[in-house]
Symmetry: C2
Subunit: 703 residues, 2 copies
C-alpha cells in the first residue's frame, strides 16, 4: 500500500494560540463569528485578530498582518475572501505559523469558475509551507479546550462536553449535525474537523492522526467522494487493528446523490462496489443516517462486545417480542432456543400463560423479571440479551437490581425502551453509563445491534487469526506477458494453469478427419464449432452444436456446422472444426481486476442473469484467504444454487474457494502487468470433482 506518513496535527487540534486573519467586528458574519464564539465559550489560549483597518476587534488588540503578531501562533484561521487567501497564506508562512484553516469558498468546488483561484491557492500553499485545512470548510474545533477555529450555530451550545469521539466530515453542515445529534444522545465529541476541498490536508490525514490518539476511541465520519481507495483501505485496516471503529456515512453513490456530490465537491467518485469491499475488509461500520450513527456509537462506547450472533429476547408483551425478534433476524442475528437446563429453571418462574422459548414471554408480571434475568444472564446459547424495560413507576426500584445482575456478564445487554420520547431519562442515562444500550424501537435496535455485531465479528476474527501469516497456495510463478491488451484464449488459459486453475481441452480437426474418427478426440460430451476467420458469429451462422454425446452424432454435427457455415457465407475459408470438451456443472463467473484507485481485487458471481442482470456478485481485495473466499460465496443471493439445485448434487465449493485464492495471488503477483482477468464461465462440478474454466481472458495493462 502507498503509505503516506501520518501528519502531527497536535498544534492544529489543540492550539495554544490562534491568529484570526480577517477577523471582523460584525459578529454574525462568518469572519466575525469565530472570535465571538471563542470569547463567549471561554477559549483559554491566546487570540490574535488580524485586521489592517482596526486597532482592536471585538475588544481584542488587532494586528495589521500575521507577521506583526508578537509570537508564533499554532494556527491561523483564515477568514478572508477567496481572492485574499493566497496572500494570507504567504504571510502565515513568513510568520512561521504551521497550520491554516481556510473558510472561504470559490475554488475548485465551483467548477470552471474557481479554476484560476484554485491554481493560485495551490501555489501559495506550496510556497508558504503552511499545512492547510479547507478551503470551503467550516473549520476545526476542539471541544475540550474550546479552540474553535470554526463557525456554526451548534458550537454555541454550552452543554457540550468532550468525549472519546472525533468527527471528520467532508460536509461542514453534516459534521456539525453529527456532533450535535450525538451529543443529544449522550455521545460526546472531542474533535471536529471539516475537510472542505482538501487542497492540502485531507480526510485521510485527519482520520489517521486521530485514530492514533489515546483520547479518541471512535470516529464518526462523512465521506462524499474519494479516489484514494488505497488510503481508505489502509485506514480501515488500522481502525480494525486498533479496535477503534470508523462509523461512516458514505454518500454520492448513485443517481441524484452522485450528481449532487459531484457539484458539491468538484470531484469524481470511484465505483461504490469497491467502497463496499473496503468497508467489509476494514474497521468501518457503514450507516445510512445520523440516528443510526449515534445508536451504533452507543454500543461501541458501551464496550460490551458479543462473541457471536445469537441473541436471547425477554419480553413482557408478546407483541413486542415478535417485533423485536423479527427486527434482529432481519439484521443477521439468530434467536436460538435456551438450553434445556435454562428452560427447566424458567418453568418455575414464568406464568403458565407465558412462553419459554426465544423470545421468553413472561406476560406483564414485572416482579418476576429479575428472577428471569438472573436465570438467563449466563445462558450459553446467547451472546447477547435483549430485555424489555418495565417502564412506569416500578422503574426506580428495578434499576439497582438490574444493574447488579448486568454486572455478572460482559455480554451486550439491550433494554427495549419506551417509545414515548423523554420518559424516565435519568434511569436511561444510568443504564447507558453502564454500557447498556436503550433503543426505543425494534427496527432501530435490530439495525444497530446487527451492524455492531458485524464489526465485533471482524475484530474477533482478526484477534484470533491475525497473527497467523497468510499462506500462499502456490509460489510466485513467472509468466510470459509481453505486449499489451487482450491475450488469446489459449494463452490466457496457460496463465491460469500456471497458478493451478484448470481449463477445458480442445482440438482442431478437418471434416474428413472427423468423419474418419474411430474414437472420441476429447471425452464426450463435446461442443462442435466451425472454425472460420470469415464467420465470427458462429451461432448466427448455425455453425455450432453443443452437448454432442456420441461418435455418430459428432459426425452428423460436423457435417451440419460445415453446411450451416457454407449456407451462411458461401465464400468462407474454413480452418477446420473445433471439437471442445463440453464442461458442465454450475456456471459461475470469476474475475480479477487491478483497480487504479483501490488495487487488485477478485470477484465472483453465479453465471448468466444473476451476475449480468441482478449484479449478484461479491468482491474482495487480493490476496484473499480461503475464509474470505468462503464469505464471498456466502454473500451471493443465489448461493443456494451451490447446495444442489433442482435435485443436483452439492457443488464443489472447496474447488471454487481454491480458484478464488489462486486467482487472487495471480493478480497480486502480476498486478504491474495484468489489468484484468475474466473467467466466464467457470463450471463447478459436484463436490470432489473440481471446477474447469471453459473460457478465459487475460488483459494486460498498456505499457
Amino acid at each position: 500500500m502507498t503509505t503516506r506518513a501520518p501528519v502531527n496535527l497536535t498544534k492544529l487540534l489543540t492550539p495554544s494560540s490562534i491568529a484570526i486573519i480577517g477577523a471582523s467586528t460584525n459578529t454574525t458574519s462568518i469572519s466575525g463569528q469565530p472570535l465571538r464564539l471563542m470569547l463567549e465559550v471561554g477559549y483559554a489560549g491566546k487570540l490574535f485578530p488580524v485586521n489592517p483597518r482596526r486597532e482592536e476587534v471585538q475588544g481584542v488588540k488587532a494586528y495589521p498582518n500575521a507577521q506583526a503578531i508578537p509570537e508564533k501562533c499554532d494556527v491561523a484561521l483564515v477568514a478572508v475572501s477567496a481572492a485574499q487567501v493566497p496572500q494570507a497564506l504567504l504571510d502565515c508562512g513568513e510568520a512561521g505559523i504551521p497550520f491554516a484553516v481556510v473558510l472561504a469558498g470559490g475554488f475548485a468546488e465551483t467548477g470552471k469558475l474557481g479554476e484560476a483561484a484554485q491554481r493560485e491557492l495551490d501555489a501559495a500553499i506550496k510556497q508558504s509551507g503552511v499545512r492547510v485545512v479547507g478551503p470551503n470548510c467550516i473549520g476545526v474545533a476542539n471541544i475540550a479546550t474550546r479552540a474553535f477555529c470554526a463557525f456554526g450555530g451548534a458550537l454555541y451550545d454550552k452543554s457540550l462536553e468532550p468525549g472519546p469521539v472525533a468527527v471528520v466530515s467532508q460536509s461542514g453542515g453534516v459534521g456539525l449535525s453529527m456532533m450535535a445529534h450525538a451529543h443529544a444522545r449522550g455521545v460526546d465529541t472531542r474533535y471536529i474537523v471539516s475537510c472542505g476541498n482538501e487542497a492540502d490536508l485531507d480526510f485521510f490525514d485527519f482520520t489517521h492522526t486521530l485514530l492514533g490518539q489515546d483520547d479518541v476511541q471512535l470516529i464518526l465520519a462523512y465521506l462524499e467522494s474519494s479516489l484514494e481507495g488505497k488510503r481508505l483501505r489502509e485506514l480501515g485496516q488500522r481502525a480494525l487493528q486498533l479496535g477503534k471503529p470508523i462509523i461512516l456515512l458514505k454518500v454520492g453513490n448513485s443517481g441524484a446523490g452522485r450528481r449532487a456530490a459531484g457539484s458539491h465537491t468538484g470531484k469524481l467518485t470511484a465505483d461504490y462496489t469497491l467502497f463496499k469491499a473496503t468497508f467489509k475488509e476494514g474497521g468501518f461500520i457503514e450507516v445510512t443516517d445520523l440516528h443510526e450513527m449515534a445508536d451504533v456509537a452507543k454500543l461501541v462506547l458501551g464496550g460490551r462486545y458479543p462473541r457471536g450472533r445469537n441473541i436471547g429476547v425477554l419480553t413482557g408483551s408478546g407483541g413486542w417480542g415478535v417485533m423485536v425478534a423479527e427486527a434482529y433476524e432481519r439484521n443477521g442475528l439468530q434467536l436460538p432456543l435456551p438450553t434445556p437446563e435454562t428452560a427447566e429453571k424458567l418453568k418455575a418462574v414464568v406464568a403458565e400463560y407465558g412462553s419459554i422459548g426465544n423470545p421468553i414471554d413472561t406476560t406483564p408480571v414485572y416482579g418476576k423479571q429479575h428472577t428471569v434475568l438472573e436465570i438467563i444472564v449466563n445462558e450459553p446459547n446467547w451472546d447477547m440479551l435483549h430485555v424489555r424495560s418495565a417502564g412506569g413507576p416500578a422503574l426506580k426500584e428495578w434499576l439497582p437490581n438490574f444493574l447488579n445482575i448486568a454486572k455478572r456478564t460482559d455480554k451486550p445487554i439491550i433494554v427495549g425502551w419506551s417509545p414515548v420520547p423523554g420518559l424516565d431519562l435519568d434511569i436511561k442515562r444510568e443504564l447507558e453509563k453502564n454500557g447498556i444500550y436503550c433503543p426505543s424501537f425494534a427496527a432501530e435496535a435490530g439495525r444497530a445491534v446487527g451492524l455492531f455485531t458485524d464489526f465485533a465479528m471482524k475484530r474477533k476474527r482478526l484477534l484470533e487469526c491475525g497473527q497467523t501469516p497468510v499462506q500462499r497456495p502456490i509460489a510466485k510463478q513467472t509468466l510470459e506477458l509481453s505486449g499489451s491488451g487482450a491475450l488469446a484464449e489459449h494463452v490466457s488459459k496457460q496463465c491460469l494453469a500456471r497458478y493451478g486453475i484448470p481449463a477445458t481441452k480442445e482440438v482442431l480437426l478437418s471434416l474428413d478427419a472427423i468423419l474418419a474418427l474411430k474414437d472420441a478426440p476429447v471425452s464426450f460430451p463435446v461442443a462442435v464449432k466451425l472454425a472460420s476467420p470469415d464467420i465470427p458469429h458462429k451461432t448466427e451462422a448455425d455453425a455450432v452444436r453443443l452437448n454432442v454425446k456420441s461418435l455418430d452424432e459428432l459426425k452428423a454435427a460436423a457435417q451440419a456446422v460445415v453446411n450451416g457455415g457454407k449456407k451462411h457465407t458461401p465464400s468462407a475459408r474454413i480452418d477446420g472444426i473445433s471439437v471442445q470438451e463440453m464442461a458442465s456443472g454450475v456456471e459461475m463467473i470469476v474475475g480479477a481486476v487491478n483497480d487504479q484507485y483501490f488495487g487488485p481485487y477478485v470477484m465472483v458471481g453465479l453465471g448468466g442473469v444473476l451476475t449480468e442482470v441482478l449484479h449478484d456478485v461479491a468482491h474482495r481485495f487480493a490476496p484473499v484467504t480461503p475464509a474470505d473466499a468462503r464469505d464471498m460465496l456466502a454473500e451471493l443471493k443465489g448461493a443456494k444454487i451451490l447446495e444442489g439445485y433442482r435435485g443436483a448434487l452439492p457443488a464443489d465449493v472447496d474447488a471454487v474457494v481454491d480458484v478464488l485464492v489462486r486467482l487472487s495471488w495471480l493478480i497480486h503477483d502480476h498486478r504491474d502487468r495484468i489489468a484484468e482477468i475474466d473467467v466466464n464461465p467457470l463450471f463447478v462440478r459436484a463436490k470432489g470433482r473440481g471446477v474447469v474454466a471453459a473460457d478465459a481472458l487475460v488483459v494486460l495493462s498498456g505499457v
Copy 2:
C-alpha cells in the same frame, strides 16, 4: 368476496354506562385499574362496579351481579379470572348488556392448557348473545369520552386528546405504545381497540366499523396473524375507496418472529407473500416500526397528496442535499431537474458558489431561502418539495413568510428539521398544523414520503380508472373438468387454449417412422424424447436430445435416445419417440392458485434460478387488468431481461401481459374446480412474435 356485515359498535366504542364485573378495591391490580382510571380521568358516563362481596368499590356503589344493576348498561368490562368468565357473560346476557370486554388470559392462546376453557367460553358467548371483545386483551378505550374499558399505564396520561385516528391491535402492549408514541409526535387517537384472542369480534369487525365512522380518518393497526385473507382484501379495498389508509405493522412473517407470534396468539399464519399482495392491492401502508408509523400518519393527516413521484430538494448545505437526495431515490422517488424557466429565475438569486439543479444548493445564505422557495413552489417538474429548515434564531422570522408561500400550493412540502431533539418545537408544531411534515433525518424522510406516495398513487389510479368496468379479454368458457388431481399435459394445454393461451405442438412416432421421414414432422428445431412408461427420468437415461435442427440430425438423435434408453433399462417398453416443437425465447413461469384463505391469484417469475432460488416473483389477485399485469412484470428484479439481454431483441411483454390477464380470468371463472395452474416454462419471443407455453399443468381441487 365473503362479506360479513359490519357490526354496529356505537355502544361499545362510546358507552353511556359501563358495568365492571369483578371490580376490585386493589387499584394497582388489573381488575381494580379500570375503575380507578375512569374516576381519575373523568369519564362522564355511569359506572356500575359488580362485586358480590362489597357494598361499594373505590367509593362507588357496587352490585352483586350484572342483573342487579338498575339500568341496561352499554358495555360490561369483565375483569374476573378465566374460570369465572363464562358465568359473567351469561349474567350480562340476562341483564341485556350488548357488549362485553374480557380481559383475562388462559384460553386458546395457551395451547392445550386452555382448550377446555375456550370451549366453555365459546358456548357462553353463543348462549348469552353478548358480543365479546377478547379474551386476553387490554380492552377498548375512547379518548374523547374517557370511557376506558381497559387497563395500562399509557392511559393515565392526562394530555391525551382525541384526534382522527383509531388504533386496532392484536397486541395490547403494542397498541398502547402505538397510541402513546403517535401522541408524543402530535398524532392523536380517538379509539383504541385491543383484539385479544378474537373469540367473537375480531380485527376485521373493528377496522370495518371504524373505517365507516366520520370521526376516523386513519387507522393504525398491528396484525400478527390471520387466516381471513378475503376479509383482509375487502378491508383494504374499502380503505382505498374511502381514502382512509390503514397504516399497518404486520409481524409473524418469518423465523423466530413467526414462532413467537404462533405462541402468542395460538394461531396459524398464512403465507406472507399473499399478505404482501393484499397490501399492494388495497389501502394499506405497511411499516416496520412505530416511528415510521407516526411519520406516515403525519403525512396522511397533513392532507397534501402528491400527484406523482417527482420531488425537488432545496438545501443550504451541500452535504445534507446529497443525503436527502439519496434517501428519496432509495424509496422510489425521482429528482428531475427544474424546467429551464425556473433555472433561469434561480440564476439571479442563488450565489455563484451555489448550485442550480436538484438539489438546489443555495449555500448557507438563509436570507435568500424565501425568494428561492417562491420561485420553485409551482415548478411543474416537481410534485413535492423538500426544504432544509434554516434553524436557529432566524426561524421565528422565517415562519410566517414560509407559511404564506406554502399556502400557494397543495403539493406536499417537507421541511428537513434539526437532528437535535427538542429544538424549536413551537415552530415545528405550527408547521405541522399547516400540513408540513418535519422529519429530522434523511432516511426517515425518504422512507415515510416514499410509502405515502405509494398510497397516493394507488388512490389516484382508483379515482382515475376506478369507474371503468373491468374488461374481459374473453367470455367465460366451458371446460370439461372431471375427477380431481392433476390433468395430463395435453389436456392442461387444451384448457389454456380455450382461454387463448398458446402452447407447443408435439407428435409421437416410432423409430422406423422417423428413420423413414422425408419432411420435418413439426418445424425445426425440435426436442426428441424417448416415450416409455418404464423410464420416467429421461435425462438420466440419456434419452433426450434438445435443439435438433435437421432431418439427418433428427434421425441420429432418435436412434441415440432409443440406444440410451435400452442401455439404461434393457427391459423398458417403448411407446415411441416424442418429437416436440422446440420453443425458445425468454423463459418465464406463470401460474395461478385458488388460495383457500385469500382466493384466486396469478403469479409470474422469470424462469429458472430467479424464480426457484431467488423467489423473484410477483403476485396479484384475480382477475387482473393489463395495468396490474404490467406492474407485476415491473416488480421483478430481473425485469431487465425482458428488455433484451445479451444482445437479444426486446421480449414480447404485451403477450405476457395478455397471458396473465387471460390466466387470471381462467382461474377466476373456474375457481370452484381448479386448485392450481402451472405454466413452466412459458417462452417469450421477441416483440410482436408472441409467447408459447412449453409445459402446462392444471390441478383440480378434490371433489
